[in-house]
């Protein structure tokens, strides 16, 4: 599964970021790296909420990414 970051930027300085496809705790490290790069560019992203995805959310993402199974005819 590809590692994906989706950022939704609202009109009132609020930014929602969704991290998908990161193994283990890697998404938190990546969020930290991203925040450091943003800060260098002059953007200070102050965390408001951090919500780990539920197992069902992760399962849905994995299902969506999984290739469709091939149908085999049994004669």
């Amino acid at each position: 599964m590809a590692r994906t970051i989706r950022a939704e930027i609202g009109s009132k300085r609020e930014v929602k970021m969704e991290f998908s496809g990161f193994p283990g705790e890697a998404c938190f490290d990546e969020a930290e790296r991203l925040r450091d790069v943003l800060r260098e560019l002059g953007l200070w992203a102050i965390p408001v909420t951090v919500m780990p995805k539920t197992s069902s959310q992760i399962a849905r993402e994995t299902e969506a990414e999984a290739p469709e199974k091939k149908k085999v005819l049994h004669s």
Binding site: E40, L43, M51
Partner: protein
């Protein structure tokens, strides 16, 4: 594991200042310039370096945005000592709404440009999309895939 987080964003151009350089050499300076011009294009405004107050007095600034329906204009200044970004406008007489809209648009553009550039720096393939939201107004979606 993966997660969803929300942030409040603030602009402060400190990278160059921390390296003993002038704020004009900050990477955020060019991004702010780009954000201002993008706002001007979207809202059909002119970019300049001065605004006027209620009495018609000229006030110089790093960037200004003004137009036929908003001839006083809104100014943007970057503090040379702290890197703080300050919006200035004499909104007396019913200009609060338009000044607020322009300010928020410049900031939204700045955030979107920063996120896209940061993801690109981290080697992500980046896509940017604008969507209209019925309640929250326009949102910018930035997607990075590694």
């Amino acid at each position: 594991m993966s997660h969803i987080s929300s942030y409040h964003a603030d602009i402060k151009l400190q990278t160059a200042l921390e390296q003993g350089k002038s704020v004009e050499q900050d990477p955020g300076w060019d991004i702010l310039n780009e954000a201002v011009w993008a706002c001007a294009e979207e809202k059909n405004l002119d970019v300049g370096h001065s605004i006027r107050d209620y009495y018609g007095r000229l006030i110089y600034c790093d960037w200004s945005l003004s137009g036929p329906a908003f001839d006083r204009g809104i100014g943007i200044n970057v503090n040379r000592d702290t890197g703080d970004v300050v919006f200035i406008c004499d909104s007396y007489g019913g200009y609060e709404r338009i000044a607020g809209e322009i300010k928020e648009k410049v900031i939204q553009n700045y955030i979107a440009l920063c996120v896209a550039r940061a993801l690109s720096t981290l080697n992500y393939e980046v896509e940017v999309e604008e969507v209209k939201h019925p309640v929250d107004g326009k949102k910018v979606l930035v997607k990075g895939v590694l």
